[in-house]
């Protein structure tokens, strides 16, 4: 496992770049608001709509709030959205896929048909409907985003379960009289964990993008709280007079999405290759 992760980081310089950028972004989200002397909601009337400077690193917005602090607070929200939504999607998707794979036959057919049907629906539009109708509660938004993104993980887990259920080495382990928890721990989980990690890495940017999309429509996180989507949306409104308002939040959003996607892709290639060798 350790050698494998070493190989993974050596496989391409892009992996190191993406991991470093992500680390930077997470550090910024955690430490950023603490490091800067400004408060996210305090307005600096000396510097309304000011370009980036030594005191305001990313400039200020229309009412003089420090954009560096707000962008980093937005990062916290975006990461939180991703964390909650992905957890929800794993909590639904893994049991669903495992149940379908284990049950097999007609039950499996029916469960996967439901997944197929939901797959074609514009999930985000349903989330929008929910948020509009039942109020702009951030936790409802997070949970709803999770509830629409469990389909892929259900498919993946079902596939793995089907494969493992009839795998000779599991049968051998059973024949040797090993206990079910032991088989799960030693054989099943290590085989399922790889694809689940890849999925998680690719699902996080998708959720972050979905949140920014909904916030852009004015339906996501409400003031004075902020997220990258809210900041980008404010930034586009002011992009002709003060481009920095768009530049920094959009850059942070783009870098994060790109890094997660790159890591996910490479991780998948890496696991595929290992499987081929095995």
């Amino acid at each position: 496992m350790k050698r494998s992760s070493e190989q993974f980081f050596k496989s391409s310089p892009l992996v190191i770049v993406a991991a470093a950028l992500l680390l930077l972004m997470i550090t910024g989200a955690v430490l950023g608001p603490v490091l800067s002397p400004w408060d996210g909601e305090a307005m600096d009337f000396e510097a309304l709509e000011a370009p980036p400077s030594l005191s305001h690193w990313f400039g200020t917005d229309l009412v003089g709030r420090d954009l560096f602090v707000r962008t980093m607070q937005g990062a916290r929200v975006s990461f939180l959205v991703a964390f909650i939504a992905v957890t929800v999607s794993l909590a639904i998707g893994i049991p669903w896929g495992a149940a379908a794979g284990l049950a097999g036959g007609r039950v499996d057919q029916l469960m996967m048909r439901i997944v197929d049907g939901l797959y074609c629906l514009p999930g985000i539009l349903i989330v929008i409907l929910l948020v509009v109708l039942f109020g702009r509660n951030p936790y409802l938004l997070f949970a709803a985003l999770g509830a629409i993104s469990w389909l892929t993980i259900a498919r993946i887990v079902r596939g793995q379960t089907l494969r493992l259920r009839n795998a000779p080495f599991i049968e051998a382990a059973r024949a040797m009289g090993l206990s079910t928890p032991y088989i799960l721990r030693k054989h099943v989980i290590p085989n399922v964990i790889g694809p689940v990690i890849v999925y998680t890495t690719l699902a996080i940017p998708a959720v972050i993008l979905a949140e920014s999309f909904i916030s852009f429509l004015g339906l996501g996180i409400a003031e004075p709280q902020t997220s990258w989507g809210v900041l980008v949306s404010d930034g586009t409104a002011a992009m002709e007079s003060s481009p920095w308002m768009l530049l920094f939040p959009a850059l942070c959003l783009g870098i994060t999405v790109w890094s997660f996607n790159t890591l996910g892709d490479r991780l998948r290639d890496h696991l595929d290759r290992r499987e081929h060798i095995n």
Binding site: R113, G117, Y119, C120, L121, P122, G123, I124, L125, I128, L129, L130, V132, L133, F134, G135, P205, L209, S212, F213, F216, L217, L219, G229, V232, S233, T236, M239, E240, L246, A250, L253, G254, I255, V257, W258, N261, T262, D265
Partner: protein
């Protein structure tokens, strides 16, 4: 094959019915109603209005009436757009939304297929690395950033394209590009994988050994086999396009039906939201039906497995 198509058709109809039912009850169960404006109506008048629009009947009865009207093709009056019924609003907006969607799909397919094929023919090569890097950037720049930037650059600064409205073909170029670009990147990635994998298949080796010219191999042998994973992506892609069009119509000021969706839901315009939802679901389901049929035609194994 007929049995397979009929089965898929039935499945699509059931799905449509379920969607309509769920959205209907979701709308009615949500707090608020179409007549809670900023200025409250006197209770008597509100009661009269509700009676006129059948909103005072028991929920199940309302649902029944709605379904009966729907079966006759009548979506009912809009609660917020003056003097319009939902049919008229959709008839006016649908051509614009269709143009936008088709334009985006064509742009995504053209770009995505060519990038994917070129990159997949020599995986790991310089061109592949370059094209995939561009595609990854494409995915990382969301439409909500790309679209306003395009307006700023091409409409405001360079004035190559008109900024808003839907009067000529030119009005659709930027919106279709903005909507299609992220999709083209996804298509390119899938196509690249398909081409790279199929290139290793024995029948491609045979074709090469027979001395066929490379364009012939690519278009006649590689492309059909490599397109199968792409086909299954087109369903979700369609859903993504519709979602994106809600934002694109807003940014580019296109008079399509997408802008009614959010606004209608905010105003509790029950009939308008239902109308847009039905059109969207119908579009997605019929598209998926087409994809399924195409799937069955290309790959006989699927037909056999699912009947």
């Amino acid at each position: 094959m007929t049995r397979y198509i009929l089965k898929r058709l039935l499945f699509a109809l059931v799905t449509l019915f379920v969607i309509i039912t769920v959205v209907f009850f979701l709308l009615r169960l949500a707090p608020g109603g179409p007549f809670d404006g900023e200025r409250r109506l006197p209770p008597e008048i509100e009661a009269n209005l509700k009676a006129a629009y059948n909103l005072d009947a028991p929920l199940l009865l309302q649902y029944g009436r709605f379904m009966v009207n729907l079966a006759q093709g009548d979506l009912g009056p809009s609660f917020t757009q003056k003097d319009f019924d939902v049919n008229a609003l959709i008839r006016a907006g649908l051509p614009v939304s269709l143009m936008l969607g088709l334009g985006a799909l064509v742009c995504a397919l053209l770009l995505g297929l060519s990038i994917g094929i070129v990159a997949g023919l020599k995986p790991g090569g310089l061109l592949d690395t370059l094209l995939m890097a561009v595609s990854n950037l494409n995915i990382a720049v969301p439409t909500i950033v790309a679209a306003p930037l395009m307006v700023l650059l091409f409409s405001v600064t360079l004035s190559w394209f008109p900024g808003g409205g839907a009067d000529t073909w030119w009005h659709f170029v930027l919106p279709a590009l903005a909507l299609g670009l992220p999709l083209s990147a996804e298509i390119a990635r899938i196509m690249r994988g398909g081409i790279a994998e199929t290139s290793l298949e024995p029948f491609v080796k045979t074709a090469k050994a027979k001395g066929l010219k490379s364009p012939r191999i690519v278009f006649l042998h590689l492309l059909p086999a490599a397109s199968i994973p792409l086909l299954s992506f087109l369903g979700p892609a369609m859903a993504g396009l519709l979602t994106g069009s809600v934002v694109a119509e807003q940014i580019f000021d296109l008079p399509g039906i997408g802008r009614y969706y959010v606004q209608g839901a905010l105003n509790r315009d029950y009939t308008l939201v239902m109308g847009v939802t039905i059109v969207y679901s119908f579009a997605i389901l019929s598209f998926n039906l087409l994809v399924d049929v195409a799937y069955g035609l290309i790959d006989p194994r699927i037909r056999v497995a699912q009947t």
